[in-house]
């Protein structure tokens, strides 16, 4: 057990007076740090980060890059697997292509005012909602610069140094963004609402007019008011009424598109054009969280496979041996998809290029894609006799004896929704 008493080695009270005075002075110095101006605090913090903590921050940067490299290797492996699988399912490869292209498109749409950066999180007490970026004033970043990723608004820059900057995401209690509904019918301020625990923190759209009802799932974007964020940056979707204040104001819950823990790469504005409407860079139909995009892609894949099965059945039933590569191109053009994608799709359907059908199948194809209904699982109606295959001398793009698309029984058609081939 510990002994209780005075350490005889410490000596009399007079010898302890010196250290006590020093301790009191140190305590006063410590207290004074909380009252220093922001600039002085930033200067001290930066000095320590730049000197004593620099190796650790550099190490973190190295670790992050290593993780990214490891992820790249995994992605390459996945792509290799996909490539192997693509001999049978080219549609999946085309789908993956679209996903990657959408990532690049955002960067293109945002123009030269945004630069990419890797997000680092210190992970120490008091820094839960902040992140460090290795881009600073040398690159043109300034305080208040918006930080975005492909899903929408992540946060903004709070402090800038020559080569680094510190930002905060929307989970920070000080986060505020002037926002509006997609159609501009309702305005308010988006802020973080603390829960009983950090996991219960949510975004709210506060200050909505009492007499207006904003429907659930309505897209909420930045309004551009106040000049901090450009207009049109997606933030989230309405998720019900949180509370009403008297009879003059409503507050709505928001489902944010961006989940800060998942954010590893961002785009930072360094000289944003204040008149640029971000709705051009973030079209409303593209606004979605990562989970929503993954779910949508999964559903698209299921529909594509269903469509492939259906077309395969139709081909067997209708007996369509005509070789019309030009028709394939025509179908692709009429559907607004690249010819190469159509070729990939044709391959994935198991239809040889030399046996691609003409207008009949094209019409069915088009109807199936545009009808927007869900796949039908009813087995095909068995026909008494299959149509006689056309002779190989039949000229391309002509199929006079083939039944028109409207005569094809619906119970054999599994259809994809509009936009499945966008």
């Amino acid at each position: 057990m510990a002994q209780f008493g005075t350490d005889p080695a410490m000596g009399a009270g007079s010898t302890r007076r010196g250290p006590t005075i020093v301790a009191v002075v140190v305590l006063l110095v410590a207290l004074s740090t909380t009252y220093l101006p922001d600039t002085a605090q930033s200067r001290i913090a930066f000095g320590i980060r730049w000197s004593l903590l620099r190796p650790f921050l550099a190490f973190q940067n190295q670790m992050t890059e290593t993780q990214i490299a490891a992820q790249d290797v995994e992605e390459l492996r996945a792509q290799l697997d996909s490539l192997s699988e693509a001999t049978m399912t080219h549609a999946a490869l085309a789908d993956e292509n679209r996903t990657l292209a959408s990532l690049l498109e955002l960067s293109d749409r945002l123009g030269d005012d945004y630069m990419p950066a890797v997000v680092l999180r210190p992970g120490t007490p008091g820094s839960e909602s902040m992140f460090i970026l290795y881009v600073g004033s040398d690159a043109g970043v300034h305080e208040g610069s918006p930080v975005v990723n492909r899903h929408g608004l992540v946060g903004l820059i709070r402090e800038v140094r020559a080569e680094t900057s510190v930002g905060m995401d929307w989970t920070h209690p000080d986060f505020r963004a002037s926002a509006m509904t997609e159609d501009g019918s309702s305005y308010g301020v988006v802020e973080n609402r603390r829960g009983a625990f950090r996991e219960q923190d949510r975004l709210v759209l506060a200050g909505g007019a009492y007499h207006e009802d904003v429907a659930d799932s309505t897209l909420v974007v930045t309004s551009g008011l106040g000049g901090v964020f450009p207009r049109g940056l997606p933030i989230g979707r309405i998720d019900g009424v949180a509370e009403t204040e008297g009879q003059w104001s409503k507050t709505y819950w928001l489902r944010p598109f961006v989940q800060p823990p998942e954010v590893t790469h961002v785009l930072v504005a360094f000289s944003p054009d204040s008149t640029f409407d971000m709705a051009l860079a973030f079209p409303p139909d593209s606004a979605a969280s990562r989970q929503e995009i993954l779910r949508r892609e999964r559903e698209d894949g299921i529909r594509l496979r269903a469509l492939a099965d259906t077309v395969r059945r139709m081909r067997v039933e209708l007996g369509l041996p005509v070789s019309i590569p030009d028709s394939l191109r025509a179908i692709a053009d009429s559907l607004g998809i690249p010819a190469d994608s159509a070729r990939l799709l044709a391959d994935s359907l198991g239809v040889p290029v030399q046996a691609i059908t003409g207008p009949a199948l094209g019409g069915v194809f088009r109807n199936a894609i545009r009808s927007g209904a869900r796949p039908i699982v009813t087995p095909p109606v068995r026909r008494p006799a299959a149509p006689t295959p056309r002779p190989s001398t039949t000229p391309p793009d002509t199929a006079p004896t083939r039944p028109p698309p409207d005569t094809v029984p619906n119970d054999t058609i599994a259809v994809a929704p509009a936009g499945a081939f966008r």
């Binding site: 510990a2 008493g5 140190v26 410590a30 320590i48 921050l57 670790m63 008091g126 625990f197």
Partner: protein
């Protein structure tokens, strides 16, 4: 093996490992608060002024990474360093029960002081802080004893 220079090396090593785990690897709460453990160990070896000074330096190190509540960690660690040095006058000995209690209470006090100093806007709910602090206190006590045993700063049976 408890010379002042060895204690200093252990303390500095703990500080380096703390930032390596928390900042370098980004482990966050998964890693124990070795900075507090280092302060509590170091403060037992020095007088009040040096204990407070040690806390001031450690606090500034942590505050440099939390610019939105700058000073909270500095004051917290300074007070903790002062109190740690004060226990030298009050409790003599290094029994297991005392060390576990010392590290547990020290870590809890650190969290409570920080909660008080961080300000109302950034403050977590009190119950949440208390719960997390208790768990972190146990974690720190276990980690501290392991560190002290491994470095020879504590041996079973020592008083």
């Amino acid at each position: 093996m408890r010379s002042p220079s060895w204690v200093l090396i252990v303390v500095l090593g703990l500080v380096a490992v703390h930032f390596l785990l928390h900042v370098g690897f980004g482990f966050g709460e998964v890693a124990p608060d070795l900075l507090t453990i280092a302060l509590l160990i170091g403060a037992r070896e020095v007088d009040l002024g040096k204990g407070a000074g040690l806390g001031l330096i450690f606090g500034l190190l942590e505050d440099s990474l939390s610019v939105l509540s700058f000073g909270a960690n500095t004051v917290t660690m300074t007070v903790l360093g002062f109190l740690g040095a004060l226990t030298r006058d009050l409790f003599v000995g290094d029994s297991l029960i005392f060390l576990v209690s010392y590290l547990f209470v020290g870590k809890m006090l650190r969290d409570v002081f920080h909660w008080v100093m961080v300000g109302a806007t950034l403050r977590d709910p009190f119950q949440e802080m208390l719960l997390q602090s208790a768990v972190a206190g146990i974690y720190a006590a276990v980690a501290g004893i392991v560190v002290m045993a491994l470095t020879g700063l504590w041996r079973e049976g020592s008083q």
